[in-house]
């Protein structure tokens, strides 16, 4: 027995250790892999800008007199790919060149990893000085918890007045400003003109009936009508939220928001029913329930689907994910079609954009740098790179990409602008919307049940 006992003892210690490790899992879940690209800038002057990204050298840098004490500004952004990656780096380098006392430490994170990591640092009460934000409900929760800096007083009239007011308002709460936008756009149907022509569709649809007819035509021509990445459930949620906007209009959503109405009201149920009409045509690429947003962009960018419902980032992201890195040659965009008899107008838009929130511990230099990031010249460069739609007046001139011009026009024409549902509402409700709409796609819940599930979450979390 003695000979058996010893290895057994070792084995059991090993087993106990492993058991402890697995027991510990519930209290400390492993985070998904953060794709962190840490960029430490050493010598600003020697950073070369790749030739493929043409960044005009016309940045006006406000010179500051007298070297002040050393300050480090922590900046988190989510542009993991070019042109954004190089563009932000260049702005940081230029700023540091004229402000030798300021070191800007950039952390680049992939979208989902960013959200996870931000939560962790938020809980420890030390947010980055400047970080990616989409405004809305999430930002309001952060502001309520005192994690953001109120920069209202730092914003002089010139800076404040330079923004499109609607875009700036997304980053304010109860009259206080907690961040600034750098891009504001909208979601619409992006389509491959060549594939539309091949299916014999000569006019983009303006009503839901026409839209369904176009889907049928594409199917008949052997083309996958729509690319969707429903593993990231927000991609499909936009179809539903647009339908709700078209059917119920501003009034229905605001009633639900103010808790005078409900998310189980008829417009939201009908949105699910219209969505079911679309799903019944089987318009999506195979396996769309397990596909990510990147895969959806790849499917569309590779010309394997004729349409995708996506935001102003679509042209740059579909090409970045395409096999040839060029993407759809003849790209176009049209507004989400109107639903017959609906209260919403075809010009109403659901959209949102990107901005930077300012963390509570941010030094004054961080705010000054945020100002530098949103100058008209910086914004105009951003526009010329087709990274997004600029929000600072006078920078639209930089918008060369015809697709971006189209988005900007549609955006400007909107009388009712609605920030993405999942961003505008508290995250508990936003994610409940995403998850509930997904159940409609999978056919595991009726439109009525899905709407009720959203209402249940709203009742609990929107008091």
């Amino acid at each position: 027995m003695r000979t058996l006992a010893r290895p057994l003892f070792v084995l059991m210690i090993l087993a106990t250790l492993l058991a402890i490790a697995s027991c510990a899992a519930p209290t400390a879940p492993p985070a998904p892999p953060p794709q962190v690209v840490q960029q430490t800038v050493v010598v600003p002057q020697t950073v070369a800008v790749p030739q493929t990204v043409a960044v005009p050298q016309t940045v006006v840098v406000p010179a500051t007199p007298a070297p002040a004490k050393k300050v480090e500004v922590n900046w988190w952004h989510i542009s993991t790919k070019d042109p954004g990656l190089t563009y932000w780096q260049k702005l940081a380098d230029d700023y540091m060149a004229t402000h030798p006392n300021v070191t800007i430490k950039i952390t680049v994170l992939e979208n989902e990893a960013f959200k996870t990591k931000l939560t962790t640092v938020m809980q420890s009460g030390s947010p980055p000085d400047i970080f990616q934000s989409w405004g809305g409900g999430t930002m309001v929760e952060q502001a309520k918890a005192g994690l953001l800096k109120d920069i209202t007083a730092n914003m002089d009239d010139a800076w404040k007045g330079s923004f499109a007011p609607g875009a700036l308002a997304v980053y304010s709460y109860q009259g206080k400003q907690y961040g600034v936008p750098w891009d504001m756009g909208m979601v619409g149907w992006w389509y491959n003109k060549d594939l539309f022509a091949k299916a014999g569709i000569d006019k983009t649809p303006t009503t839901w009936t026409e839209f369904l007819a176009a889907v049928k035509k594409l199917k008949a021509a052997g083309i996958t009508p729509i690319a969707l990445g429903e593993k990231d459930s927000w991609t499909g949620m936009h179809i539903w939220s647009y339908l709700a906007t078209r059917i119920g209009g501003q009034a229905a959503f605001e009633a639900a928001l103010n808790r005078k109405g409900s998310f189980a009201d008829p417009p939201f149920v009908q949105a699910g029913e219209k969505l079911k009409e679309l799903i019944a045509l089987d318009p999506f690429q195979p396996g769309y329930l397990g596909a990510t947003h990147d895969e959806m962009q790849a499917t569309f960018g590779n010309g394997k689907a004729a349409m995708e419902l996506s935001g102003q980032w679509a042209p740059s992201v579909e090409s970045a994910n395409a096999a040839d890195k060029k993407g759809v040659a003849n790209l176009g965009m049209f507004n989400f079609p109107a639903v017959e008899g609906g209260a919403g107008a075809v010009t109403d838009v659901v959209g949102g954009g990107n901005g930077f929130a300012i963390g509570k511990n941010a030094p004054p230099e961080a705010i000054d740098f945020a100002k530098y990031l949103t100058t008209a010249s910086a914004q105009s460069q951003m526009a010329s790179l087709a990274m997004g739609i600029p929000v600072v007046k006078g920078s639209e001139v930089g918008l060369k990409d015809p697709n971006m011009v189209e988005v900007q026009k549609a955006f400007a024409a909107a009388k009712y602008f609605q920030l993405y549902y999942d961003q505008f509402l508290p995250s508990a409700v936003g994610d409940a919307i995403n998850a509930s709409v997904q159940t409609i796609f999978a056919g595991t819940a009726t439109p009525q049940q899905a709407a009720q599930a959203i209402e249940d979450a709203a009742k609990k979390n929107m008091k």
Binding site: M1, L11, P29, P33, K144, P286, L289, S427, A442
Partner: protein
């Protein structure tokens, strides 16, 4: 364990003995302290915090103020998605015990003794376990991609006439099967290794004696190998059950619990509520429910199945 006190001894011996005893106690305290402090700081304290937070409706930002009592637990136990997660975990437990462990045992017996090139096979079989769960998940996501032009498995399937590409991870009915295949691929190596270690300790003589007595190969395995491996088997069962109940990394990477909660596990459910919806109070409550389930199983299992081990080897 208490050592019975020794009576009828001289006084000097008594004194020596008691100072010795104090010394022993100091040694015990000193040696236990580091582990105990770590245990308190990283296990007991977080669990107590979870207990506290589980009674609040708290979004993780700022202090928890909205006290809700046991409502979170009530909501968890009435949520059909959580029940589904429990069901999925139990399904994996049953499949692991029914398929994965027997497979590992069979392979261990095969590569343990007579197979030519057994060192090579051992290495190959153990390799998946060394990979991180995330890498494993990404590899298999690629293999099981629903698009035949991107996923190897479907690319091979469509070569067979009349076979259509399968949804795999994007199909509600197939996703758990695929996850089980990947979990098996990943973890059978560990169990095989444990069995191999156990096999090393079975004396050759016993087997030879059995063979001389006229036992055939199957009888040998049935009556000698498996009974002598029983304590190892019990260990692997414990590991396998706890691993299945707390599985997170692989599932989160491959499906995120989807499509539409079809592959929801308790840990992915907890993660979604705590870190996607930022209902940290609710998430804490889920973690506690998980802990209770795992703890109940562990304690009951230790009592029932492992008592024998303690008697034999301690």
């Amino acid at each position: 364990m208490e050592i019975p006190a020794v009576r009828n001894v001289t006084e000097s011996y008594h004194i020596r003995r008691s100072s010795r005893r104090i010394q022993d106690k100091v040694t015990i305290v000193l040696f236990l302290a580091p582990a105990f402090i770590l245990f308190l700081a990283f296990l007991v304290y977080p669990i107590l915090r979870s207990v506290y937070f589980s009674m609040f409706d708290w979004n993780g930002l700022g202090p928890a103020v909205d006290y809700v009592g046991l409502d979170n637990f009530k909501d968890i136990l009435t949520d059909t998605v959580f029940m589904r997660a429990v069901g999925n975990c139990l399904l994996i437990v049953v499949l692991s015990l029914g398929i994965q462990l027997p497979l590992a045992l069979a392979l261990a017996i095969m590569v343990g003794r007579d197979l030519p090139g057994r060192a090579f096979f051992r290495l190959i079989f153990f390799m998946p376990y060394v990979l991180s769960e995330v890498i494993t998940g990404i590899i298999w996501m690629g293999l099981f991609n629903a698009d035949p032009s991107r996923g190897l498995v479907n690319a091979l399937l469509v070569l067979i006439p009349g076979v259509k590409p399968q949804g795999f991870l994007s199909d509600i009915n197939q996703v758990m099967g695929v996850i089980f295949v990947v979990l098996t691929w990943k973890f059978f190596g560990l169990h095989m290794l444990l069995y191999l270690a156990g096999l090393q300790n079975i004396p050759r003589e016993i087997e030879e004696a059995a063979l001389i007595d006229g036992a055939n190969r199957w009888q040998l395995i049935q009556n000698v190998t498996i009974p002598l491996l029983s304590s190892t088997i019990r260990t692997t069962i414990l590991l396998s059950v706890l691993g299945s109940l707390t599985q997170f990394g692989l599932v989160w990477t491959m499906t995120g619990g989807g499509p539409v909660n079809a592959s929801e596990f308790m840990a992915t459910y907890m993660y979604r509520f705590a870190f996607k919806r930022f209902l940290l109070g609710y998430g804490s409550a889920v973690a506690l429910v998980m802990l209770l389930i795992c703890l109940t199983f562990s304690v009951a299992y230790m009592r029932l199945a492992r008592q024998e081990d303690y008697q034999v080897s301690w």
